[in-house]
């Protein structure tokens, strides 16, 4: 399925390049049709070929290896951000389930938090790098990028988990009460298992949000080592070397794919014994 989808995208790219206007075009008066010359839309095979070229003349380090190490770096950042986002998101969901009053007070702020543009927030959080110190712990610069990833990831997870925690029927909750189950036991034996079908799709959203957060944070804070930094570096060289920037974009896609694969695996594991087809 996945291979077919990639094939389709490549085919569409090349097809448009073959028939599209070489100098770009207008649609409904807007200049939106991209130009199809090699400068703007290089051939896919040229992009792939570029991967095996050396980064600089005279070294045998290929672009692919640089991109891959960037992918690995960003992937780990996204993972840390995602984990942090899940923890916060689920923690918030549990609190809101436990204290109904808090829900009405806090939920609007959660929504507002997501309307703050990440770009505006990034320099602020990046400023903590190297300066902030808690006890013996010095805030490393990479942590800022992870935090921004978490900042985007926590929201879908919080909303999905909250909905899931509230999904058990009144009679299921009464049943737990009739067993004199304390609140935290009910949380772990009833509410969380019942929430799984809601949590899994929210994790999918959260994972891609974490990647976006990390890459954008890398770009806007100039953090070295990750795929975000590679993309801006390569983009600067785009006029002379148009295929290079696409290798960076491949890399970013790879980070997203890695995260998606991780969530898909957890989906399979968690939903193994569930009835098929009626999940939320």
């Amino acid at each position: 399925m996945f291979i077919v989808a990639i094939g389709l995208v490549v085919a569409m790219w090349e097809a448009y390049k073959a028939v599209g206007p070489a100098r770009g075009g207008d649609l409904l008066g807007f200049k939106i049709l991209p130009r199809t010359n090699d400068q703007v839309m290089p051939h896919v095979w040229n992009m792939v070929k570029r991967l095996s070229d050396p980064v600089q003349r005279g070294t045998d380090q290929t672009i692919a290896s640089v991109v891959l190490s960037g992918v690995w770096y960003s992937f780990r950042l996204a993972l840390v951000g995602f984990a942090f986002g899940i923890t916060c998101g689920m923690g918030i969901a549990v609190l809101l389930t436990r204290f109904k009053l808090i829900e009405r007070a806090v939920l609007p702020y959660l929504v507002v938090s997501q309307t703050v543009p990440l770009i505006a927030l990034a320099p602020l959080v990046a400023g903590w790098g190297g300066k902030l110190q808690v006890g013996g712990f010095v805030w490393p610069r990479w942590m800022s990028a992870a935090v921004l990833g978490a900042f985007l990831a926590f929201f879908p997870v919080a909303v999905g988990t909250l909905r899931g925690l509230k999904s058990p029927s009144a009679s299921s909750l009464e049943l737990m009460d009739s067993f004199a189950s304390p609140w935290h036991r009910t949380l772990f034996t009833l509410r969380f298992p019942a929430a799984v079908p809601y949590i899994v799709p929210s994790l999918k959203l959260g994972a891609s949000a974490a990647v976006v957060g990390v890459v954008v944070a890398e770009i806007s804070t100039g953090l070295r080592g990750g795929i975000g930094r590679l993309i801006i570096e390569y983009a600067r060289q785009a006029t002379s070397d148009p295929t290079k920037v696409y290798t960076g974009i491949f890399g970013a896609a790879l980070v997203g794919l890695g995260m998606a694969a991780l969530v898909a695996a957890s989906d399979l594991a968690l939903m193994r014994h569930r009835p098929k087809g009626d999940a939320a």
């Binding site: 009679s171 049943l175 009739s178 067993f179 004199a180 034996t189 009833l190 019942a194 014994h273």
Partner: protein
């Protein structure tokens, strides 16, 4: 000591507000150990409310409720009763056996003891081969039997049931009624049973409690003297029909007074 002792209980929902509902007024009811008592009455007369009060899932507005001689709250904490609802309420992520073990888990039993008990309960409800199945792989009747096994898992002396067979077809329903009687006889369990069906109430019960709505109260208690060894033949018995008529007449009085509906005449 009686199994359940409800004395002068009133329950008003949303007391003092515009939308206050007098769900129960001056309810007195004593259930003896080993007795099977059904609650019947039109929709909204407070049957479920009375059952929830006995289970201490609700607090009465006034009056007192004793279960096994203790205050209802203590009885709930001690898991002195088991409960089953119309929806089996099985947890779909647990196997049948682990659903039955749920109350034992919450009581802190160790695993081996739980396994042994769930095995015993599965035999009791004739589902010995289904321990490892998931609930959604079972028919509605089988799910309801698992729910009964779960309610009985900690060997409670009292079983509270709210229309447990309401969602089953007629055939399965009659079959389940006979099985419930056998199980209760074997385990000498006391039962308080809410139903909409007159024949069901008569077939199962030692006494049928007739209730009326607005405000909810007990209007009649009818003794059913059909003996303790009831079976499918009992359903053809003249005495059986006699008791059905008696309950129906008591209910008709209720309906005349309240203009209510909602009793199944089957």
């Amino acid at each position: 000591m009686s199994a359940v002792e409800v004395t002068q209980v009133n329950k008003i929902f949303n007391a003092g507000k515009q939308n206050a509902v007098e769900a129960l007024v001056d309810v007195d009811l004593v259930v003896q150990p080993g007795e099977f008592v059904s609650l019947i009455g039109p929709s909204g007369c407070g049957k479920s409310t009375l059952l929830r009060l006995i289970a201490n899932l609700l607090e009465p507005t006034s009056g007192s409720i004793l279960v096994n001689g203790k205050p209802a709250k203590q009885a709930r904490i001690d898991q002195d009763y088991g409960m089953a609802f119309q929806q089996s309420g099985l947890f779909e992520w647990r196997t049948v056996a682990r659903n039955i073990e749920l109350p034992l888990e919450l009581k802190g039993w160790d695993k081996a003891k739980r396994r042994a008990r769930s095995r015993e309960m599965l035999e009791l409800v004739k589902l010995g081969d289904f321990a490892k199945h998931m609930p959604w792989q079972l028919s509605g009747g089988m799910q309801q039997r698992v729910a009964i096994a779960r309610a009985l898992a900690s060997h409670p002396k009292l079983l509270l049931m709210d229309e447990p067979f309401g969602a089953l077809d007629e055939m399965t329903r009659e079959h389940m009624q006979s099985e419930l009687l056998q199980i209760c006889a074997r385990t000498s369990t006391t039962v308080v049973f809410v139903t909409h069906s007159i024949p069901e109430a008569v077939y199962l019960s030692n006494r049928v409690v007739v209730m009326s709505p607005r405000p909810g109260r007990i209007t009649d208690i009818i003794d059913v003297e059909l003996g303790s060894d009831r079976n499918e033949d009992t359903r053809e018995d003249a005495a059986f029909y006699g008791r059905i008529t008696a309950v129906r007449e008591a209910l008709r009085g209720v309906e005349m007074a309240a203009g209510a509906r909602g009793i199944e005449d089957r």
